[in-house]
């Protein structure tokens, strides 16, 4: 009698992952060609960045989630906790890059056009002008040691715009649970090295020419309701 529940529990445990249908993530397509952001960001960088780096984050994210699933099914709390850093890193990488591709647009499709409407007004209110914001983000991005991201975020609780940096692939939410990313700039070396070499400030100066403020405005309007 005692054996049967054990058996069913064991077989259930083996089959559950498939039954539960673990969600796997896949590489989103870019809404533009790899070469469309030239000469600001070279096609070579875009291709490597998208097909190799972002894909690697997704692959490892899926792997970590699968391992997490198994660990949870087995009740292995050590393994569950051990996997957190891999999930944060790879998951963060997937989240951040997915936002990044939407933050960019070719010049002929509106890249670089300054923000209008409520976001433009909010920027002027909180930073004085778009130029000031750009300067601030460039300064923080250049000063970031190692790898990370520089963000323009909306603090939903305090209802204000903030400029933040995060290390490695930490998503903006790690800097505050009420922060919503409007615009993120990747300052990992892989984002600019082949073209700008070690001159990160040049990359930051130029990247604004392909920033898609329409996307940021949409997010802002949606989140500031």
């Amino acid at each position: 009698m005692a054996l049967r529940p054990l058996l069913t529990r064991k077989t259930l445990g083996l089959r559950l992952p498939q039954l539960r249908g673990l969600q796997t993530f896949s590489l989103p397509d870019l809404p533009y060609d790899y070469g469309a952001l030239e000469p600001v960001i070279s096609g070579e960088i875009m291709q490597l960045h998208h097909q190799k780096h972002h894909q690697a984050y997704i692959t490892n994210f899926n792997k970590a989630l699968e391992q997490l699933d198994e660990a949870m099914a087995k009740g292995d709390s050590t393994a569950v906790v051990k996997l957190q850093s891999a999930i944060k890193f790879n998951g963060g990488g997937h989240i951040n890059h997915s936002i990044f591709w939407k933050n960019l647009a070719p010049i002929r499709e509106g890249g670089g056009e300054p923000p209008k409407g409520s976001l433009g007004w909010a920027i002027d209110t909180h930073f004085g002008s778009l130029e000031t914001l750009v300067q601030k983000m460039n300064l923080e991005g250049a000063a970031l040691q190692g790898s990370g991201w520089v963000w323009l975020g909306l603090d939903k609780e305090l209802k204000k715009l903030v400029v933040e940096t995060t290390a490695n692939q930490d998503p903006l939410v790690t800097k505050g649970p009420h922060l919503v990313p409007l615009l993120g700039i990747d300052v990992w070396e892989h984002a600019y090295y082949l073209q700008y070499k070690n001159v990160r400030p040049d990359y930051l100066k130029n990247v604004w020419k392909v920033i898609d403020w329409h996307y940021s405005s949409e997010v802002y309007e949606k989140e500031s309701k």
């Binding site: 490597l48 780096h53 850093s85 040691q145 790898s147 692939q169 070396e189 090295y193 070499k197 070690n198």
Partner: protein, 266 residues
Amino acid sequence: MGSCCYRSFPSSSHLSVIDCPQGFKSPKLPCRSKQQKRWSAESQGASKVFAYYGLRSPPYKLDALEPYMSRRTLEMHWGRHHRNYVEGLNKHLEKNDVMYGCTMDELVKITYNNGNPLPEFNNAAQVWNHDFFWESMQPGGGDIPKLGVLQQIEKDFGSFSNFKDKFVEAALTLFGSGWVWLVLKREERRLVVIKTSNAICPLVWEDIPIISLDMWEHAYYLDYKNDKGKYVKVFMDHLVSWNAAMARMARAEAFVNLGEPKIPVA
């Protein structure tokens, strides 16, 4: 001049050309040592002489590591990144000449400030790290260590290939920018493989580094793009200088007793 404790590699490094960063008044004497004592303007009466740290060249020509590490990478990595750290350090220390009295090792430990790093730490540590890194490689490197180093590795890792696996694994599982080290832990008196983030170096924990590998993307991106695995493999197979490791181990044994004391039986 004997300021670099763990890097006394049998090279004529103190006679190598030291690049004087632009914008600093260099003394007329040829630069023989890494630091110069600061002379007070009053006692000299002449124009002020500023002490500074110099950019030390790698102990080989910039194209000597081809085809495993291209000359272009060395030119960028040493000529621009490493040089920027040196110039940044000098700029920082302009205002605080107390720190000029330190050797590089001391400077790294002092600016680390026990886990609360001062702003100078990043530059100081990266200068030290890169000096150490260039000397951790040599043309015709790779292969396996001999004698004492091999013995110690086999003792602490089981086998050389086990150590190699651990080193490669650490390099590939490092999140973000950082370094991988083979380090002699002072307290535990054994070799371990560790990975550190950004500019952190094992000196700050009083441990003795034996070899290092730069895993910042700028170290390999031009040659290997995103293929970290290939870069690490090439480093282990063709670049790592076990000669340097042996010299550093020999030096380390003056500070860490690795063997059983040989007590003579009467």
